[in-house]
């Protein structure tokens, strides 16, 4: 089987295609094409929305920190939340910028590398948010929210024992979650949402993206050899 011989047959079929393909002209019009957003644009908009929400949180937390600066027991949990939200906003902006920089009319290898790098960035952020989120989004948030919205002192009503135990649980749950997702992630086939979460925690998708990026680089290198 010689590709150059088959190429002639391909060209023959090509001639017939001109007559046999019919495009639906009406569906090609702008009105129909504008009904939806492409996945990358949607992703960028979601990242933008996340950034806005994050900025709102930063303002509220900033006010809280300023108000309770002299009380470290309230200021410290708020600072922890603040740092987490700053990191989240920065990564959201980076993702948004990266998504807007992808132009599909650029050469294939360049675009595919950009898309995969963005995917890796998104997966890293998601994994990081899932793992560290449980540290700040439980006890520190509880302390800050009770104080800010109801003027309740969480240390007094819940007791330091409860708070320390829960914080400790948050620290322990991180390695436990990674271990469980690595061990059981593949067996959760019947629950797609749970499987997706476990795969993200275990870093399967991140590793797959990394492999693909390596394949892309190899692909360029291979042809140079």
């Amino acid at each position: 089987m010689d590709i150059d011989v088959l190429r002639e047959k391909w060209v023959e079929q090509d001639r017939k295609l001109d007559e046999s393909i019919h495009m639906n002209g009406r569906l090609l019009t702008m009105a129909n094409m504008n009904r939806t957003q492409p996945p990358l644009r949607r992703f960028a908009l979601l990242a933008g929305l996340g950034t806005l929400l994050g900025l709102m949180f930063l303002i509220i937390l900033g006010g809280f920190i300023y108000k309770h600066w002299a009380e470290p027991r309230f200021a410290l949990p708020a600072i922890a939340l603040h740092v987490w939200v700053i990191a989240y906003v920065v990564t959201s902006i980076r993702q948004m910028v990266a998504a807007f920089q992808i132009h599909f009319d650029q050469p294939v290898t360049a675009v595919q590398k950009q898309i995969e790098s963005l995917r890796m960035m998104r997966l890293r952020v998601l994994r990081w948010a899932l793992l560290t989120g449980q540290l700040v989004w439980w006890i520190p948030l509880l302390i800050v929210a009770l104080k800010e919205f109801w003027d309740v002192d969480a240390y007094r009503i819940l007791g330091p024992g409860f708070l320390i135990a829960n914080l400790g649980f948050g620290v322990v749950i991180i390695p436990a979650a990674v271990w469980a997702s690595n061990k059981f992630g593949e067996r959760m086939g019947r629950r797609p949402a749970m499987q997706r979460l476990m795969r993200e925690l275990a870093g399967y998708n991140l590793r797959a993206a990394s492999r693909y990026l390596a394949t892309l680089n190899e692909f360029e290198y291979e042809t140079r050899a």
Partner: protein, 168 residues
């Protein structure tokens, strides 16, 4: 070109190059639903990028190949989009009599070979079969001409080897 000219000009250009759309969709998707989904995604992206098309920098076909292949490779790799129609309803963007016709054994063999390739090699074979020159392929894929020549030569050898294995 005024805004009101865009849809007609765009439609004309797509009509002239519809074979690219058809062949890319056929190379990357096996069933008709997926092919239609992909055709819609590609056409949508072509339309979105059309304003930036500069005929002095590259030909329309090079530009269209880049977008079509980029979308097809991403589509091929993504999960969960296979059943999503960009344009709702039962209307099809691309209809072909060729779908109901039985292709010649040689063309069928070529499609079988293409189907087994990774998404990048698919792009190379498709561009080569469509009569693009090495500089054109290099421009679309983003590699040097030497790299393209090496890659195509390897694909040719692979094809011969696979045909030999099938015959024995």
């Amino acid at each position: 070109m005024t805004d009101s000219d865009v849809p007609a000009t765009f439609q004309n250009q797509i009509e002239q190059h519809k074979k690219i759309l058809y062949k890319v969709c056929n190379a990357y998707c096996r069933d008709r639903e997926s092919r239609e989904d992909l055709a819609q995604e590609i056409t949508f992206q072509l339309w979105r990028s059309y304003g930036k098309f500069d005929g002095r920098r590259c030909t329309f076909s090079t530009w269209m190949y880049r977008i079509a292949l980029n979308i097809a490779i991403s589509f091929y790799r993504s999960e969960g989009v296979r059943t999503r129609h960009v344009i709702p309803g039962e209307q099809f963007l691309m209809e072909s009599v060729a779908d109901t016709e039985r292709p010649s054994d040689e063309v069928r063999l070529l499609y079988e070979f293409i189907e087994e390739l990774d998404p990048f090699s698919k792009a190379f074979v498709l561009l080569y079969l469509d009569g693009n020159t090495y500089p054109e392929i290099a421009n679309i894929i983003g590699l040097s001409e030497t790299n393209v020549a090496t890659k195509i030569s390897r694909l040719k050898s692979r094809m011969k080897q696979e045909a030999g294995t099938k015959n024995t």
